[in-house]
Amino acid sequence: MSQMKTNGTQTRSFGQRMNALWEYANPVKFMALSGKVLPWIVGLCALTLIPGLIWGFFFTPEAANFGNSVKIIYVHVPSATMAINIWVMMLVTSLIWLIRRHHVSALAAKAAALIGMTMTLIALITGAVWGQPMWGTYWAWDPRLTSFLILFLFYLGYMALWAAIENPDTAADLTSVLCVVGSVFALLSRYAVNFWNQGLHQGASLSMDKEEHVSNVYWQPLVMAIIGFGLLFVTLLLIRTRTEIRRRRLHALMARERMSDA
């Protein structure tokens, strides 16, 4: 009996905690919290990204066969990691919007798209710059390169749809549906492309289960740079989401003014 009671209170408290989380879907609460948290995240981002990159660029030995050009991985790998994860985050926020209709969620997805596209572009360009001396070509139809190009196209389509529709709620609905369907097809393309061409690209640089990966000298600054890029994304995302919320408010105020004038 007593056991059941404690179980009951536990689930309740978990439920309450979940509800507390959903409260931040309220734009006012989100603005208050994100305003407070933002300077700290900016600080943390600066503390990891800048030392991580400096460490990676200037204080790692040159790799045999690669020379100095190996140092581009401190930008290439983190941006590529973020490019994929941002799409996953957009998928999650789109689903939250479709299921629970929280405006902050839809706006966060919109805000993330441009950052994700930029990360994809950075990964593609740094890859091309690195590929020229290493593989002797800027571009190869290698599975990973091709998948990233396709991911870039998906980001483009998603943003174009946001830009084309005037009504913000309609736009949020349609882009969310597109994001869900697009995710399935992006995943399919990934496998299709793997099937289509075996590539030049090296295997995963970082993995938990493999015995052999890049030696620790390179690994430590790389992890730091990845964390830094992650925090950079969170920083930009918060700023852009706050901007979107303010823009919405401004539109609402202007609409109200026009109503009162008329």
Partner: protein, 218 residues
Amino acid sequence: MIALLIRDMRLAMRAGGGFGLGLAFFLIVTTLVPFGVGPDAEILARIAPGILWVGALLACLLSLDRIFQLDFEDGSLDLLATSPIPLEGIVAIKALAHWLVTGLPLTLAAPFFGALMHLESPGFSWMFVTLLLGTPALSMIGAFGAALTVGLKRGGLLMSLLVLPLYIPSLIFGAEAATRGMAGFNANAPLLMMAGITAGSIALLPFAAAAALRVNLR
């Protein structure tokens, strides 16, 4: 539902010549490619399956905006949405009508256009089979893209940006199956993958397209 199918097909065949236009476009694409790459038979035969697939894909894309746009403008889409048939069923029927007037003729014509590209004789049947299994997915995915952009004034260009990336898996597997089959290799894996994409699209995309249509009709 059958009445709707017949109505859609009649409209497509009579009004504005949308029916023949896709085929004519397909013919023009296959004619232009040899001008671009030169008349060398070997090269043409090698790239033929890919060119035919890309041509079929673009021809399919051309007529997509007709699926919902006209009905949306004259208000019959609202009537269809309030009819006893579920909107998902209407989407599926409209995609089927689109396939019957574009995908099927393209499939039937592909072997003949293949002859223009010096496609070798085993290639004819392979083009036919891959397009037959692949083009239904193109129509269904296209119906989804058309549903997304139906409320927009100039949705055509945007729709191509939305729809073409979704066509990539079908294109890769379709062209790969045709190439492998022609060369005498075992083409089961890509063929089955493509058929799987088609089946999955037909099963699931009507729901996504109907959801998008409901948003646009709101």
